[in-house]
C-alpha cells in the first residue's frame, strides 16, 4: 500500500474511533439498538397519547433510534398492558399508562396483569380532575355546590369521563367530605362530558383538566375546585385544590412510563437517563404547560414511592364507592 493510502486509512480510523468515543454518553453500551416501542393501552388522540407524543417529540436529540408509539386497545386497557408486560425485557418495549394502573385492579377481579409486572421508569406529568359547572347555576365555589347538593339529595347530576376513573373517585371524595349525595353520570371521555355540560344536560362535570379549559376561558363554564395542586398557565384565576378547601383526599392523575419487571438494571438506568433528559427539557416543559398539564419528573424509586402513595389513596376512595 502506498504511504498516502496508509495515511488516509489511519486518518479515517482515528476519526471513526474518536466519533465512537465521543458518542458514547452515559448510555449503556449500544442501547438502544433498535427503535423503542412505547405501548399505549388507550386509543390515539387521548390524553395519554398526547402526553407521550409530546414528551418524545424531540427524541432524536437524545437518542439516535426513533421512538414509536403503538396503540394496543381493548379490555379497558388490559390488552395493551398485557402486551407490554409480555414483551422482551430489553428496554425496547415500554408502556405508557396513567393512574389507570392503580384503579384498574380496584374494580376488576382476576386481572392477568398488574403493576407488579412492571418497574416504573418515571412519572412525567401530573394533572388533576376539576369540577366545572355552568355560569347559570350561580355557584362560585365547591361549597356552593355542596350546599345545593345537600338541599336536593341525589338530584344533582355530575358528569365524569368514566366510572372507576380517578375523576369518578374525585367526585366520591367531594361527596365524602361534604356528606352529600349526587347522581354520577359517566360519559365516554372528557370531551363528551364537556359537551353534556355545555348542552345543559348535567349540572356539573368533573373531567380531567385541561379538558374544558377553553370553555372556562370563554366564559361558558365556571371552575369550582381541582382535585390536586395543578398549575394551569392558561387559566385566568386561582386554582383552589382539595387541600385548599379542606377535603382531605388528594386525587392526582399522573402519567408514567413503565418497563417490564425483568428489565436489567443498567438498561433501566439508561432509560431513566433518556426519559429524564426529555422530561426536563424546555421543549417538553413548554409544551406541557401550553397544553395544560404539569410537567414533573420522578424517576425509578422516587416514582415507585409516589405511585404507591397514590395507589393507597385511590384504594381508600374506592372503598367508599360500593
Amino acid at each position: 500500500m502506498s504511504i498516502r493510502k496508509t495515511a488516509i486509512n489511519g486518518l479515517v480510523a482515528t476519526m471513526l474511533t474518536s466519533f465512537a468515543v465521543a458518542s458514547a454518553p452515559a448510555l449503556a453500551q449500544d442501547f438502544p439498538s433498535e427503535p423503542i416501542r412505547i405501548i399505549n393501552a388507550f386509543k390515539p388522540g387521548g390524553a395519554t397519547d398526547t402526553a407521550i407524543r409530546g414528551l418524545t417529540k424531540n427524541s432524536d436529540s437524545v437518542i439516535n433510534q426513533p421512538i414509536v408509539i403503538e396503540s394496543v386497545t381493548g379490555g379497558g386497557g388490559v390488552n395493551g398492558i398485557l402486551k407490554a408486560a409480555q414483551a422482551k425485557p430489553d428496554g425496547h418495549t415500554l408502556l405508557v399508562a396513567d393512574t389507570v394502573m392503580t384503579t384498574l385492579p380496584l374494580f376488576q377481579e382476576n386481572l392477568p396483569v398488574g403493576m407488579s409486572d412492571f418497574k416504573p421508569v418515571g412519572v412525567f406529568n401530573l394533572r388533576g380532575a376539576w369540577l366545572l359547572t355552568r355560569p347559570s347555576k350561580g355557584w362560585t365555589s365547591v361549597a356552593d355546590f355542596a350546599e345545593a347538593a345537600k338541599a336536593a339529595p341525589g338530584a344533582l347530576t355530575v358528569g365524569v369521563p368514566s366510572l372507576s376513573s380517578p375523576q369518578h373517585l374525585a367526585v366520591i371524595a367531594i361527596e365524602d367530605a361534604y356528606g352529600i349525595d349526587v347522581n354520577i353520570v359517566p360519559y365516554g371521555g372528557g370531551a363528551p362530558t364537556m359537551g353534556a355540560l355545555l348542552g345543559d344536560q348535567i349540572d356539573a362535570a368533573m373531567p380531567g383538566a385541561p379538558a374544558g379549559l377553553d370553555s372556562v376561558s370563554a366564559g361558558d363554564a365556571v371552575f369550582l375546585v381541582a382535585s390536586t395542586d395543578i398549575e394551569l398557565d392558561k387559566f385566568d384565576g386561582e386554582i383552589t385544590s382539595f387541600t385548599d378547601v379542606g377535603i382531605k383526599h388528594d386525587v392526582g392523575i399522573w402519567t408514567a412510563i413503565w418497563a417490564p419487571k425483568d428489565t436489567p438494571d443498567d438498561i433501566m438506568q439508561s432509560l431513566v437517563s433518556i426519559f429524564g433528559t426529555m422530561a426536563e427539557s424546555t421543549a417538553w416543559n413548554e409544551f406541557a404547560r401550553g397544553y395544560g398539564v404539569t410537567p414533573i419528573w420522578k424517576p425509578a424509586d422516587e416514582a415507585s414511592t409516589y405511585i404507591g402513595t397514590s395507589a393507597d389513596s385511590m384504594e381508600k376512595l374506592a372503598k367508599l364507592v360500593k
Binding site: S71, Q108, G154, D214
Partner: protein, 501 residues
C-alpha cells in the same frame, strides 16, 4: 371574513395544495384497501406531520380523511368488498354494475357523488360553523339512543330481504356488541372468562370479516372465478357523469342532508349514513316513485350515488364540532383532535379566535380536499378498472390477505385476526340463509351508542322513562319507528299468502 379569505390564500398556496393532493391520493389508497382504515393511516402519519407547520400538516391529514371516504367505493364496486365500512352500501348496486361491464360508470358516479356530497355539505356548514356546535351539544342522551334505534329499524326493514330476518340480524348485532366490559358499571359481560373478550368484539375486524372475507368465501363457490372477467366499458366522460348526477339531484340532496346531519351526531357517522341513503333509494324504487329499468340488486346507479354522497357529506358534519367544541364525531376526527393538541392548539370555542390561521385553514382544506380527491380519483379510475382485467381469483386471494392482516393491524393482536376470520364464516352462513349482514353490522356498531345513551338518559332522570317522549328528537324517532313497524304489519295483512317477511 378576512380570516376565511386569507385561509383560502393559504391553502391554495402551491406547496399546501400539493400536500392536500398527496393526502387525498394516500387517502384513496387507504380507502381502497380493505384492511386499512382512516384512523389507522392518520395515527401512523402523525409523527411525520410533526415536522411541519400545523396548517401544512393538516393538509395531509384532511386529505387522507376525505380521500378514504371516496376510496372505499373503488373496491366496493370492483370486488364487492368495501375498502372502508362506510362504502359497504355502495357495493350493493356498485358490484352488479361492474358485473354488467359498467364499472367505469359506477366508479365515475361514485366519485362524482362523493364530490357533490362533500362539497355541498361543506358549503352549507361554513356559515353555520358557530351554530352547529351549539346545537350538537343539545342532543341529549335520550335522543341519541332513539336515533340509533331508528337507524337500526330502518336498515333492517329496507335492506336485506325479509324484515323479521333483518331484525333478528340486528338484534344479534346488538347482543354481540354487549360482549365485554360494561362501560357504565365496570363489570364484564358475556366474556365467558376470557380476558380477550373483555374488550368486546373489535369493530373493524368484524366488519372486515363480514364484508370482505365472507364475500370471498361466497364467491369461492362460483365456478367462473378463474375465467377472464367481463369486458369493461371505460369510455365515460365527465360530461356524461355530470348529466347523470344532475338527473339524480333530488336524491343526492336528500343523501347529502342525511350525511351532514348524521355527521354531527357523535358515534353514528358515515357507516350509518351510507346505509340509510341506500335504504332511501331502495324505498323509492319499491314504491315506484323512482323509475328505473333495473330492479334493486341489478345495478341501479342511484344506489351507488346516494351512499357515496352521504358518506362524504359526513365529513362536514363531523369536523365542525371537532373544531368548535373539541368533540370528535368519529375515530378520524378524534385523532385529528389529538394532533391539534400535540401542536399545542386547543380546539374549542376560542379556537377560531386564537388560532385563526389554523382553524380556518382546516375548514378551508376540508372543502378544497373534495376537489383534490376528485382529481386524484379521476386520475386513478382508468388504472383501477384495468385491474379488473386480472383474474378475479387473484384479486380475491389478495383481498383475503389484506383483510386478515388488516384485521391484525387494527389492534396489533392476533385475536383481531381471528375475529375477522370468524365473522367471515358468520357472514358466509348469513348470506346463504338470507339474513341481512348490514343489519348485523349496524347492530354491532350502534349497540354501544344505543345502550350507553339509553342507560345514561335513565340515569339522569333516575328511572323516569318519560324522558324519551318529552325530548322532541326522541319523540320523532319513536313515531318513525312505529311507522315502520306499522307499515310492515299492514303489508302483512294485505297479502295473506306467499308473503315476503
Amino acid at each position: 371574513m378576512e380570516h376565511l379569505l386569507s385561509a383560502f390564500g393559504n391553502v391554495l398556496y402551491p406547496t399546501n395544495l400539493a400536500l392536500l393532493f398527496a393526502g387525498s391520493t394516500l387517502g384513496l389508497l387507504v380507502g381502497v384497501l380493505p384492511g386499512l382504515s382512516s384512523p389507522m393511516a392518520l395515527a401512523i402519519l402523525i409523527p411525520v406531520a410533526f415536522g411541519m407547520e400545523p396548517v401544512s400538516a393538516f393538509m395531509i391529514l384532511i386529505g387522507i380523511y376525505v380521500g378514504t371516504k371516496t376510496g372505499g367505493a373503488f373496491s366496493a364496486i370492483m370486488m364487492r368488498t368495501p375498502g372502508t365500512p362506510a362504502a359497504a352500501a355502495t357495493a350493493m348496486e356498485g358490484y352488479p354494475m361492474a358485473q354488467r361491464g359498467e364499472a367505469g360508470r359506477a366508479l365515475s358516479l361514485a366519485i362524482g357523488a362523493s364530490f357533490v356530497g362533500g362539497t355541498l355539505s361543506w358549503l352549507v356548514a361554513i356559515p353555520l360553523v358557530g351554530v352547529i356546535g351549539l346545537y350538537a351539544v343539545r342532543i341529549s342522551s335520550a335522543d341519541l339512543a332513539m336515533i340509533g334505534i331508528l337507524a337500526l329499524a330502518a336498515v333492517s326493514s329496507l335492506s336485506g330481504q325479509d324484515f323479521l330476518k333483518g331484525l333478528m340480524a340486528a338484534a344479534l348485532g346488538l347482543v354481540l356488541s354487549t360482549i365485554g366490559l360494561d362501560e357504565l358499571s365496570g363489570t364484564p359481560r358475556l366474556t365467558m372468562g376470557s380476558y380477550h373478550l373483555l374488550g368486546g368484539i373489535p369493530f373493524l375486524p368484524a366488519i372486515i370479516g363480514l364484508f370482505a372475507v365472507a364475500t370471498v368465501l361466497v364467491d369461492a363457490s362460483d365456478g367462473s372465478i378463474a375465467k377472464p372477467p367481463k369486458v369493461q366499458n371505460t369510455g365515460y366522460t365527465v360530461l356524461q357523469v355530470a348529466k347523470e348526477l344532475w338527473v339524480m339531484r333530488k336524491i343526492l340532496a336528500v343523501a347529502t342532508t342525511i350525511g351532514s346531519l348524521l355527521g354531527v351526531v357523535p358515534g353514528v357517522g358515515s357507516d350509518t349514513a351510507g346505509w340509510l341513503s341506500f335504504a332511501y333509494v331502495k324505498k323509492l324504487i319499491a314504491s315506484g316513485r323512482l323509475k328505473s329499468d333495473r330492479k334493486i340488486g341489478e345495478g341501479v346507479p342511484h344506489g351507488v350515488a346516494a351512499p357515496e354522497a352521504a358518506n362524504n357529506a359526513v365529513t362536514g358534519g363531523a369536523t365542525i364540532p371537532m373544531l368548535t367544541l373539541g368533540i370528535p364525531g368519529d375515530g378520524s376526527t378524534a385523532i385529528m383532535l389529538g394532533a391539534l393538541m400535540l401542536f399545542g392548539l386547543q380546539p374549542g370555542p376560542l379556537f377560531f379566535r386564537e388560532s385563526p390561521d389554523v382553524a380556518y385553514g382546516i375548514l378551508v382544506a376540508l372543502g378544497i380536499a373534495n376537489f383534490t380527491t376528485l382529481l386524484a380519483a379521476l386520475m386513478f379510475t382508468r388504472p383501477f378498472v384495468s385491474i379488473l382485467k386480472v383474474d378475479r381469483a387473484i384479486l380475491l386471494g389478495s383481498v383475503l390477505v389484506l383483510a386478515l392482516v388488516g384485521g391484525y393491524a387494527s389492534s396489533n393482536t392476533g385475536y383481531a385476526m381471528l375475529i375477522a376470520l370468524l365473522f367471515g364464516f358468520l357472514g358466509f352462513f348469513m348470506h346463504h340463509l338470507g339474513y341481512s349482514i348490514p343489519a348485523l353490522a349496524l347492530g354491532l356498531i350502534l349497540g354501544p351508542v344505543i345502550e350507553s345513551n339509553f342507560r345514561r338518559a335513565l340515569l339522569i332522570t333516575r328511572g323516569d322513562f318519560w324522558v324519551f317522549l318529552t325530548s322532541p328528537i326522541s319523540l320523532v324517532c319513536i313515531i318513525l319507528i312505529l311507522a315502520i313497524g306499522g307499515k310492515f304489519c299492514v303489508d302483512l295483512l294485505k297479502k295473506r299468502k306467499f308473503q315476503r317477511l
